[in-house]
Structure formats: structure tokens, C-alpha cells
Amino acid sequence: MSALLAATLPHRTLALFVLWLLLSESYNLLHMAVGLAAAFAVALLNTDRLTSAAYRIHWLRLAAYLPWLLWRIFLSGVHLSFLILHPRMPIDPIMIRHRTQLSNKNAVVLLGNSVTLTPGTLTVEANPDEVLVHAMDEYSAQDVKTLRLDRKIANLFKRTEARG
């Protein structure tokens, strides 16, 4: 077990335990002991997922990004509803091979997730340097095509001193 891993284990255990307490609402000794054990086990089982330590997420910028994403989701949802309810259903689905400039896996995962969350665009294939996106029409595709989403997400990650 690496030093970095041992350092983050308590944090992860604590975070999961807080989630347990929030969801269980029974604060006797037995339930809390079981919760703590479960939290520790889950944290331990997920340790090998800690791969790219070279990039850290900017939590403050993430907090600014999420409301923006939610607003885009709302607008796209209204647009998609319009497409579905329109009598002639003016959809024109396209597949976009999107070469992403994002250089770390976590950012690509966030990109794929954001694209799929936004109604009207779906991530079909996701690779480290290329994402295949299915879009309902040109309007839905604009955030991906103009690289707006790419830039927003690149902005969320900061490079730390390379150590892994």
C-alpha cells in the first residue's frame, strides 16, 4: 500500500461513514459499528482506483460548474421536449467523432458524464483521446462541437507536481 493511499483511506472512510449516518438515522452502538466497518471495507476495496494523482480537481470551480451544467441541462431538456412534441418531429440525429484535448482520464469521465446528462446528447464510446457522441440535432450538439464543454472541464483540473 503506497503512502498516498494510506493517507487518503481515513478521509474516504470518514466520508462514507457520514453518508451512512445520514441515511440510517439510528444512532445506537451496534448500527454505528456496522456502519464504520462497512465504510472502511468499501474505502479499502476501492483503493486501486486512485490512479491519476497528477491532476487534482478544483472544488471551488466544480461548485461553479455544476449550476452552469444544470442550466444547460434544463435548456436542452426543453429543446428535446419541443422536438418530441412537435407534430413533424424535426430531429436530425448525427454522430460526432469528438477529439478531446483533455489529457487525463478523470476529466474525460466528467466530459462523458456531462454530455450524457445533457438531454439531446449521448456518449456512445469514450476513449482517452476521442469521444463518440450521438446528438439529436445541430442545436443539441453545439456545446460539444464548439469545444465549450471541453474548455469548461479543462478549467476544473489543475496539474500538481507529478508524482504518480
Binding site: 453518508l19 445520514l22 418530441i84 440525429p93 450521438h134
Partner: protein
């Protein structure tokens, strides 16, 4: 308070109905997945937000927010897995020209 909660839930219901109509009207598995994604991203969002408002500031409202956060992390993964499997098993996306 009750009115705002009910209003939010009605908006959520609207998106759920639209998504159901989309499921029937849209031509292929890819575009239908968009409709399914709509139920989660907006239908569930407004329904659960309405429920949270109904509960006011309480542990239950907090729990609803946790459910919402998990939905937003997990559902894109499911949509993605579905359409990727469809593409890999040889399904061709519907296009306007050849439709």
C-alpha cells in the same frame, strides 16, 4: 411552501410524460435513449426537488438530495452502457436521409 412543491412536481411530471411520448415516437434505440435520459435528468430532478421542498429543511430533504446526486452520477453510466452495447452489436443509428 405546498404550492411551490406541488408546482415543481408538476413540472417533473410534464417531463416524464414527454419522455414517455418520446419513447413511442422516436425511431431507434439511440434517440429513444435520449428520451429515457430526459426522465432522469429533468423528470426526477423536478419531482425530487418538489419532494425536498415539501419536507422543508430536514434530514429527509438532505436524503433526497443524496438520492438526486447518486442518480446524476449513475444514470449517464447506464445510458452510455446501453447505447455502446447497441452500437457494438451492429445497430445503425437512424438518419434523416435514409429514414
Amino acid at each position: 411552501m405546498g404550492l411551490i412543491g406541488a408546482g415543481l412536481m408538476l413540472v417533473g411530471l410534464f417531463f416524464l410524460v414527454v419522455a414517455a411520448i418520446g419513447m413511442v415516437r422516436l425511431p431507434d434505440v439511440f434517440s429513444r435513449s435520449h428520451a429515457v435520459a430526459l426522465t432522469d435528468s429533468l423528470g426526477a430532478l423536478f419531482l425530487l426537488a418538489g419532494l425536498a421542498v415539501e419536507h422543508g429543511f430536514s434530514p429527509n430533504a438532505l436524503r433526497i438530495l443524496v438520492v438526486l446526486a447518486l442518480l446524476y452520477i449513475l444514470n449517464p453510466v447506464i445510458s452510455h452502457a446501453t447505447v455502446r452495447a447497441a452500437l457494438r452489436s451492429g445497430m445503425k443509428p437512424w438518419r434523416r436521409e435514409n429514414g
